[in-house]
């Protein structure tokens, strides 16, 4: 008999619970659950995109929040000029994120290691300062988004529509990640993470693969930013701040980088612990900081990574017992 895969059951349970959140919020009369759930999903989407770069590509990007900000500002700036069509905003988000991702990617990917970390951070800072300097779009204070994205059939002004759009996108992104990393493209990308020189000597133009992954992740994160702008009704330079990039990294690592489902688990765990700590004390960051340090020191595989390890261990034991009998 095939052993019960605990990781798959946990994943299914999480997705089911997430799908039921709007119904719970409706009946219990707790709109906070909706907002919180949407935040989890949006950050999960951003973390899933970062995971492609960080977990599978081995590129430690410390500026991923840049694209979150681009998406939010695409909504904000277009709405500011009276363009409320979601499709137009989505198109602009995708095109701008792709262009910025490809251009910064070409420069950053010339470097590796610490220089790559720094240069991605520097690019994100650059755009941060750019948006701070754009006084006509709010500058330092940010830009409030008066009208939410209108997609014709539905508008993201409705919390339920926003929630389910985010959920559908997260599920699609999870599926796409699963397909992608097991396809030839993903194999090459994972090969680059382990040993890029070997991949090069095998004849792969590794830069092309890494750049494609980086650009793809930028676009996906841009879409998450579009949703985030709609959720908060605001686009602020803080969305591009390096702390935001740091939080995304924490989510990916906490959940289990290089696992398909990990980023969603990481976003859930981090945001829930933040809320719990906030309820306990005003100085919750004094607790969260050391917890992150502890996670970095000990829990290297991440929550979902450990579940997968456990499954693998159980499967090994099971097959060992079968062989023995």
């Amino acid at each position: 008999m095939k052993p019960l895969r605990i990781s798959q059951w946990v994943a299914a349970a999480i997705v089911l619970l997430l799908a039921l959140v709007p119904i719970y919020a409706q009946f219990a009369g707790e709109p906070f659950a909706m907002t919180f759930g949407s935040r989890v999903l949006i950050f999960a989407l951003a973390a899933i995109s970062l995971n492609l770069v960080l977990g599978y590509g081995g590129m430690v990007s410390f500026g991923h929040a840049l694209y979150l900000g681009l998406g939010a500002y695409a909504v904000g700036i277009l709405a500011h000029h009276g363009v409320g069509s979601g499709w137009a905003q989505l198109g602009v988000t995708i095109v701008v994120s792709a262009i910025v991702g490809a251009l910064t990617g070409i420069v950053s990917l010339r470097t590796t290691g610490i220089a790559f970390i720094m240069i991605t951070l520097a690019f994100a800072q650059m755009f941060y300062y750019l948006f701070v300097s754009l006084k006509q779009y709010g500058g330092d204070d940010g830009l409030s988004i008066s009208a939410r994205s209108d997609f014709g059939l539905f508008t993201l002004g409705s919390p339920t529509a926003l929630y389910y759009s985010a959920l559908v996108l997260v599920l699609a992104a999870l599926m796409a990640t699963h397909r992608l990393v097991n396809a030839r493209f993903g194999m090459v990308l994972r090969g680059c993470r382990v040993n890029e020189r070997r991949m090069k000597s095998m004849g792969f133009s590794t830069l092309r693969y890494k750049l494609s992954a980086y650009t793809l992740a930028s676009v996906l994160c841009g879409v998450a930013g579009l949703l985030y702008g709609n959720l908060t009704g605001f686009a602020a330079p803080a969305y591009l701040a390096w702390t935001m990039s740091g939080e995304l990294i924490v989510m990916v690592v906490l959940g289990g980088m290089g696992t398909v489902f990990g980023p969603l688990v990481g976003a859930l765990v981090l945001l829930i612990s933040e809320e719990l700590l906030k309820a306990l004390t005003d100085h919750w960051m004094m607790v969260l900081g050391p917890l992150i340090v502890l996670a970095a020191l000990t829990a290297r595989r991440g929550v979902y990574g450990y579940l997968l390890d456990w499954d693998a261990w159980r499967a090994r034991r099971q097959s060992g017992m079968r062989d023995g009998s």
């Binding site: 970390i117 240069i119 650059m126 006509q136 992150i292 340090v293």
Partner: protein, 306 residues
């Protein structure tokens, strides 16, 4: 634009440059020798500034404030190395980034908890509060003192690394720590000492910038990012490179802040130019770094014999 304005801006650039050098020297040593990405270096700078400011408020003596600030940040750096950093030397950069990111959150909140969220002001010491006449240009004595201290620190670093036994061990440790340990040197203590030295330099930077900036939670991060850019431009691990590139970055940043708004005012209205100037100046450094890395991925002054 008069000559004296230009000269004052250049001096300001020099002053920012030496401050950046004091921060980047520790960073680049820790990077180069222990291969450790210390994002929390900015927190050491912030804590140094807070220690000094708190001591200054109580004692009214700049000397005591200086001692407390430097000793405090060195001790903090030592503790940080022993408790967290030393466990991460063999790990990849990602774990180090993550752990030091956690430390930043902790220290910023700690500062907010102890000293409150509002900025703390530290007065310029009496003896250095006036202006000084440099070839006909009157310049703030305190800022001039920062330049002098910075240059002295740079000279001290040069002598320490190139002329002393400890410096020899540092250089040896950066090229092959295992062999150094095999030859009977306590490399763990050496690493901790280097970390503490870097922290002390960050403390000096924090102490010196206390009176010209406001001391507040999170003050370490903007300057840390600039210092990171400095060491990447200078070539990671090279103190000499950090010195030159700190001066270059300091001058570019100050010149950008001072002159870009003037330049922009030619074709933009006053308010927009005033707002866009500093942001563009900050972008200028990032663009400069991107340019350097695109042309020389190892930085301007890469460490040789690696």
């Amino acid at each position: 634009m008069s000559f004296s304005l230009f000269a004052i801006q250049m001096l300001n650039g020099l002053q920012l440059g030496v401050l950046l050098f004091m921060l980047s020297a520790g960073l680049t040593l820790v990077f180069g020798i222990m291969n450790f990405v210390n994002l929390a270096h900015g927190s050491l700078y912030m804590m140094g500034a807070y220690f000094a400011a708190a001591a200054y408020v109580r004692s009214e003596s700049f000397l005591i404030a200086a001692l407390v600030g430097i000793a405090g940040s060195a001790a903090l750096g030592f503790a940080m190395e022993r408790i967290v950093a030393s466990r991460l030397y063999a790990r990849d950069h990602l774990d180090q980034v993550l752990a030091t990111f956690g430390l930043i959150l902790f220290f910023n909140e700690l500062a907010r908890w102890i000293w409150g969220a509002s900025p703390y002001y530290m007065n310029v010491p009496e003896a250095l509060s006036g202006t000084i006449n440099l070839l006909g240009i009157s310049y703030s004595t305190y800022r001039f003192a920062i330049i002098l201290v910075g240059l002295l620190v740079a000279l001290g670093c040069y002598l320490l690394i190139n002329k002393t036994r400890v410096g020899m061990l540092i250089r040896a440790g950066s090229s092959n720590p295992t062999i150094v340990a095999a030859m009977g040197v306590n490399i763990k203590m050496l690493n901790a000492a280097i970390f503490a030295l870097g922290a002390a330099l960050a403390g000096v930077a924090g102490l010196m910038s206390g009176p010209i900036l406001s001391v507040q939670p999170g003050m370490g991060e903007p300057i840390l990012i600039t210092a990171m850019i400095v060491i990447v431009i200078g070539g990671i691990g090279s103190v000499r490179g950090a010195f030159y590139s700190a001066l270059i970055v300091g001058l570019i940043d100050t010149a950008g802040r001072a002159f870009l708004p003037l330049l922009l005012r030619e074709f933009l209205d006053r308010a927009t130019a005033q707002a866009a100037g500093p942001a563009l100046a900050s972008m200028l450094i990032c663009i400069f770094m991107a340019l350097v890395l695109a042309l020389k991925p190892d930085g301007l002054f890469p460490v040789r014999n690696r």
